[in-house]
Symmetry: C2
């Protein structure tokens, strides 16, 4: 007999549809009437705010300052870096008019055509390029280390909430340096920062590495990525850091007078992580009962569910719950007060508990008259079975709450890491490689000679791409496709 689950279909039955249903049941987001744009609901936005705050802290702690650049980019700006515009031309939302007018037959139509069309930013290198060229004169002005939190528009044909939406939220870092070495160090420092952040805060294990040329950011000299493995064994690119060389410095004439008195072009980097991370979080940790949220980004840590049988119980139970909530809020987890919510809605207890299971609240605490009399609480952790209730003394809950949240955070990471390890395979022949991807998914480590034609053929045949050349390189070997020498194994997978 099939186990009853809160989410239907299950991951096994239909993973893409399970994903949509988890988002719906957890009230994370919904599609809007604008193609490919989503409304992020408070519970989803609460996760984003927690993620944002902790990533922002790390970005500032490494010397970057926040600023804000315009939403619109003049077409002529976008054109200045040839590969850049080529990369984004197919997905640009273009503003062509600046007002609306009534026609004779009373229809509202665009009017006031702009002299130059404006592109809604698909990324901000080109507008930053102009800004940098205004700000930078001397070596004393360098480095410039900036970051912005902004909305981005890339007109996507096939969209999926959080993973690929026409509008998304992100941070984009932009830096300018006097030397190549410094710009390369920045690129790699940010890659490490993303890697550590995604591990520590989102409990998602990732593999760091460099993208192949075909997967490079348009206009970059080198693109570095962190790659995660979802529960359907497909890869998700979770953040990228680009070494832009002097491409944008040349295109926007960003020059500085060196200490020696010569005029030099700067070296730039850019790097971004987006609301896509929420999609990664959902697909890494959630189960057939709904969302599971790593405690460090959960909008609430503890949901207290008062069990009220009659009006006589009500006052006493709610007062007891309020006192417990106050005590829990005095505890600290992840350097912040524990976040506690009492759900006193007048609906059936079972329905209410399932509501919070589906929303992925880390810890549920049920309290009724029996529990109050025994000075106990009934505690369930979202990463354990919903049947796995713990009876704890009230004080025990308060004293161990931070410990339990930490344990859950670590358990989620370990679970995901084990899953990834079980689904990472070393393959040493082309035949086995094709065989594997015909029937399965996962990370495949294999030797590749660096030939872009081989890469293109694999993609055409199997929809499999090289996710990265891992920073932790294997030994050299022989390409399984061509027999030519290979510097290191690379990671293959189907991906989002």
């Amino acid at each position: 007999m099939a186990k009853k689950t809160a989410i239907s279909p299950t991951r096994e039955e239909n993973y893409p549809e399970w994903y949509q249903q988890v988002i719906k049941a957890a009230e994370l987001a919904e599609t809007s009437s604008v193609r490919g744009c989503m409304v992020i609901r408070p519970w989803g936005f609460g996760i984003w705010e927690n993620l944002q705050q902790q990533l922002d802290q790390r970005i500032k702690a490494t010397g970057h300052e926040n600023f804000y650049c315009p939403l619109f980019i003049p077409l002529s700006h976008l054109e200045r870096e040839a590969k850049h515009v080529e990369g984004f031309a197919k997905e640009c939302a273009v503003v062509t008019h600046h007002r609306l007018e009534k026609t004779a037959d009373n229809r509202l139509v665009p009017a006031g055509e702009l002299e130059e069309p404006l592109v809604v930013r698909p990324t901000s290198e080109t507008i930053i390029g102009e800004t940098f060229s205004n700000w930078i004169q001397s070596y004393r002005d360098l480095p410039i280390l900036l970051n912005q939190w902004a909305n981005i528009v890339r007109w996507e044909m096939r969209t999926r909430m959080f993973l690929r939406t026409s509008e998304f939220l992100w941070q984009e870092g932009h830096t300018a340096h006097a030397t190549e070495t410094e710009a390369r160090q920045e690129t790699m420092m940010i890659l490490d920062l993303y890697n550590d952040f995604v591990h520590d805060v989102l409990a998602i294990p990732t593999i760091k590495g460099e993208k192949t040329e075909s997967e490079r950011f348009p206009g970059a000299v080198g693109t570095y990525t962190i790659e995660a493995l979802m529960q359907d064994k497909k890869a998700l690119q979770a953040g990228t850091s680009h070494f832009l060389g002097q491409n944008f410095a040349n295109a926007f004439d960003i020059k500085y007078l060196s200490e020696a008195g010569s005029e030099e072009h700067v070296w730039t980097t850019s790097w971004g992580a987006s609301t896509r991370l929420i999609g990664g979080l959902i697909m890494t940790h959630s189960d057939d009962d709904g969302l599971v949220i790593p405690p460090k980004v959960a909008p609430q840590h503890v949901i207290i569910l008062p069990i009220i049988h009659n009006d006589a119980d009500k006052v006493r139970t709610l007062e007891h719950c309020e006192k417990l909530a106050a005590s829990l809020r005095k505890q600290s987890f992840n350097n912040m007060p524990v976040r506690v919510k009492i759900d006193a809605r007048d609906i059936r207890g079972g329905e209410k508990a399932w509501y919070w299971v589906k929303k992925g609240a880390p810890i549920r605490v049920e309290i009724g008259p029996k529990e109050i009399d025994a000075d106990e609480v009934s505690v369930t952790r979202r990463d354990h079975s919903y049947r796995d209730r713990q009876k704890l003394k009230t004080n025990e809950l308060i004293e161990t709450i931070a410990e339990q949240l930490t344990a859950m955070q670590q358990n989620l990471y370990q679970r995901a890491l084990t899953f990834r390890e079980e689904n990472t395979h070393d393959i040493d022949s082309e035949k086995d490689f094709y065989e594997f991807f015909k029937n399965d998914n996962g990370f495949v480590r294999a030797h590749w000679c660096g030939d872009a034609n081989v890469e293109a053929k694999i993609q055409a045949d199997l929809s499999v791409t090289i996710r990265c050349l891992p920073s932790e390189a294997s030994e050299a070997g022989t390409c399984i496709f061509t027999g030519k020498p290979s510097k290191q194994m690379v990671i293959f997978a189907r991906s989002y």
Copy 2:
């Protein structure tokens, strides 16, 4: 002999130009290559982040949750509330295409025309209307109390940095309620919240009140405002809260099943405050030497300026400064650690001090070998004359730092309040009213009968508008323009 000032022209010489020069000298923002859009530089954005964090806390403390709505609004949505679309039609940026294409002669042009044009949000009532109608079924779903931080586009013909830009940043609250009373309470609660926030955090005194019909938000039943007086004696609308009645509920069919079982339309509100507040802050507090920032929103509270005469001093002085900075950072102001920066750049001491005067850092601390030997510091507060240096023992500075920041915050508020009081006049005849505004500016309190024609004539004659009908109403009287009865005095002024 004219006093030498860091900003030229002075306020008296040319106020609008002084304003631009303060922004430039403080590195707050700059115009971009996109008409009317600005780049907010790190020091300006730091003020915004501090403002945002403190306003966000207050919005959440009153039960609202953050969420995010799409940037784009389908044209057909905007049309559904007739007055609303009429109000915004003239200033909408319209997206008509979703990609770029090369022509035969190699020019890049918009391509892929959208079936329905999309308007870049000038405000989000209409997209929220649709969302609310999806979310609300029963009285149990009410109230809904939401807020979002977002960028907004209103295509302005005459722009001025922070005060009126084509793109700006803001928060917009959107709430839905079961009853008119509740929605009206929300509207007024938010007006109070804005008023208190602007007083407490930005040190700007404001007058609360209702807008006349002609100044109402398009689609609102009532618009409430807080009005501040700038140093050129012109008014600035610093935040608005709208009671929308059932206008948007009707347009978007937002209905709920009441407890009694009947189907009812909800009552909605919306309210917003924007980066315009930074313009208000600049124009309220700054002087002819540049920006003055209220400590509660200053990106740095204390700037330590090491005085280094030679290499022998250098190590010792910097070490001493680092120790002092660490001690100051352990102090708390406004419930947060004191923010301290050491400016160790290798430039002339005078130039460096002026740099921070112009940037409006609240407290400058100079330390050289003499000060170290005497265990002293030389302290200057930005709201005092730059000549007004205090010699303090190092410990005295540490112990009194929070006190001094508090004193500065209060002094700025008191100074602005005194200025407003000196420039608020009760006028009781039409002749005196015209006489006054021909030669001067300020808040004028006068009786007005409520006739919109009178209001329009005054605006046409003098460019003076009714800023609000103050919440703290005067006694009834006689209209100075028509002789008809007037319920209360209203506030007139020229405005931004």
